[in-house]
Symmetry: D2
Subunit: 256 residues, 4 copies
């Protein structure tokens, strides 16, 4: 069973009526509701900006297999100490699913080595066609060769990300842009998936293809072991092989 | 002409007689001296921990094509504001050559999304054989299929780096370890090269193969343009293509 | 249940008493025996050089999820028509596990775009230490940070492979060589894993770590769907979007 | 000086008046004419299907730094012996620029491990917008963030290529498709660049941006050394390091 924690900023839903109308339980509530239907998924916790210091405590993170992240207007307000814990957990194997404006969140930018701004955008409600370019990838199972999101914010290349380990989706936008809208990276022992779609003013997370992508991604990002930290702390332990230093001028610290 | 700036912590040389004996002008002095011999290299500036706030000012960084970085015991003391400037400049195209313990420096870890510690090590003066696995790469020109550094600190896998864009060297160590000792990544528009060798207690930077690696790497990392920042600031500009929103329920912000 | 087919050349075992002593049922027999113990693995078929035209028929390949390949001295004798079928099946999703000298087999070289010879070697029975550099990868589950094969043929870099998608193992050899001994690639919809160890004169496939690697790899390479062929045959179908050609001088073949 | 050889099938131009009108000297003639203007480029030879056995002889290939390839309707007729020589030369360092339908040529498919068909297409003269996603790459120097080809054949994802080492362009098509229209790979010591545009019925190679892409690509693909073949033929040479076999049961072939 995969333990999932969902971080949602939860600011737009409380300040904009139009967003609340789409996500009355918050974006995290909608995501939680569809993830709950999958039998592989165990405990689902939620965290918001308001409570993230406690809701993303070390104890919670240590019990989390995959963290889902949605943030947009309050990236700055996320506590650096929490960010450091999230990063360490990803490096130790926790999966990390980053949605939409999460490309500008601290943990994503810190793990990918990027900065802001790193893409072009347009809030115009354009049609998006997502092309599935990894038919035999766990994240795309159940999806066809391409599919449409009727209206979303446009994101455009160049997207200042490191070359993805796997490119999953490329999107076509009505206004002339293209975007690498689904991509994976490994950092340390953790698997990261970025998925572009999900502007808060559109009912993206109610669309079944999007729900499938996120559910599949959670299962894909689940680590083989919850804590995969490599034990690297042992500097200066004994060498594995016997040898003689050739000129005797240096004394190895330890020897068999 | 390539403008190079060399950051060297310059602490070991001032506190350890044995290190000063090897690098009387500091590690940066030795690196500067051999880089100066290459006709493609222009202005060479040096910075140390003591003066790095001024010596790595925005003005200097803006005039730098490639930054070389050596640090070991005082990574923490490097100013975060300087680190942020370095990162921004790499993302905008500045080359970045990271030597030895620089894997634990703030700018390298921030750009690669890593954390400390991320490798195994042993200070035993073991013999290292570096295998050149990229014969037709600019960084390896003039080097043979393999070559030896008689004594260096041992670094061992697993090395917690993201999968390199190009793997240049793999090292064999007498004690049984292997290490990806030369590797490249792109971040934003900048090229990064990490080279493992160079423990301060050995005369590594006096060895001609090492000098060749670093000189070649500086030339390889030189950006096509000194400032390659993508202009991403223009959100909500007009779409490139004309189109009609299908159901009329969303009003695009801008239109032709 | 994963259907596995094992191709083993089966020439050394029939011509060299010393090899037969190690693998009385052939290398394929030994591999089959340990794979059978895993409950995720279904039907296991075997093919040898002598019968490979029938044993690797289209029907068999179509019913195979993962193909394991061991060959050494008779790569040339493998039928090109069979090779073409194997390649097509990998591109359509079949997993492909290539062992030891299989790096010189026709299907591996054809899928990776390599040629022969592409590595250094020495038959000296040297000790090998394999370093696990992907602790949270399905292929390494159950293995520690490093492990030893007491005696095997030495393979040395440079190994003329394309940059792996994932580097799993790097080996240290007693004689001074290093080797990327475990690596993965995707080709089309299929997953490929190369594992270096397994010279026929040593009991490598009787060693439990090696058995674990191969068993894990079979499960990792199992496709999401047995046949993932992308339907690319539909040239000149209708465009997805309506548009007007700007100058009218070209007539699109099909329109909405 | 970079020696370039251009292979152009040269069948459409001789059989279709409309194509001859665009390329009266053949596509190779147009490419040769703009490459000649660059001072870094030395000898330029041309080869066509009719004379390719002689015009792509071993002697010519050995004197070629970068080979440019355009083919469409007669891939099958290219001599397998010539293909084998081309592949060997790429693995030994020769650059290889593959244009348009060259994705289905024997040397490209053999080097990338692909098969046919591997993309979607539509001959509809649609507008294409190419997005430059590698601003600091030698291939994109002089190009802006995006640019338009007014009419070309549409190619659509999924494009069955291995994950590129560097993704240079992604194209947007009027009809709803996207395509990875510029990408690089290394194979052996050689650099490969694929560029999608150039259907024979449009004057693509007369467009200045396209000419810039191809000229830049030739310079980028130029090897550090004309012949970079790794000397891998020396199996069973002496080990680099002295060691003792632990149990004496195997006798190394050679020893210091």
């Amino acid at each position: 069973m995969i333990n999932v924690t969902i971080y949602n900023e939860f600011v737009h839903e409380t300040t904009h009526e139009s967003v609340r109308a789409i996500y009355p339980q918050g974006i995290h509530g909608t995501i939680k509701a569809f993830l709950e239907k999958d039998s592989a998924i165990g405990k689902i916790r939620c965290a918001t900006l308001a409570d993230h210091r406690e809701a993303l405590s070390q104890e919670v993170l240590d019990d989390t297999d995959v963290l889902v992240w949605w943030g947009h207007m309050a990236h700055d307000k996320v506590d650096d100490a929490v960010v450091a814990k999230v990063i360490r957990r990803v490096l130790d194997g926790m999966g990390f699913i980053v949605l939409h404006s999460g490309h500008a969140s601290k943990p994503f930018q810190r793990l990918l080595g990027t900065d802001t701004p790193l893409l072009r955008w347009r809030e115009a409600g354009e049609k998006v066609r997502l092309w599935n370019i990894a038919k035999n990838h766990p994240i795309t199972q159940g999806l066809g060769e391409s599919w449409v999101i009727p209206h979303d914010e446009t994101y455009g290349e160049p997207f200042g990300i490191p070359n993805p380990d796997e490119l999953i989706f490329i999107s076509w936008f009505q206004g002339g842009e293209v975007f690498r809208s689904g991509a994976t990276w490994r950092r340390g022992e953790g698997k990261i998936f970025y998925f572009q779609n999900g502007h808060e003013t559109f009912p993206i997370y109610h669309q079944k293809e999007v729900q499938l992508v996120i559910t599949n991604a959670v299962k894909w990002a689940n680590p083989c072991q919850r804590h995969c930290a490599v034990d690297r702390g042992k500097g200066n332990d004994a060498p594995f092989e016997k040898y003689e230093l050739e000129d005797g001028s240096f004394t190895p610290v330890t020897r068999h």
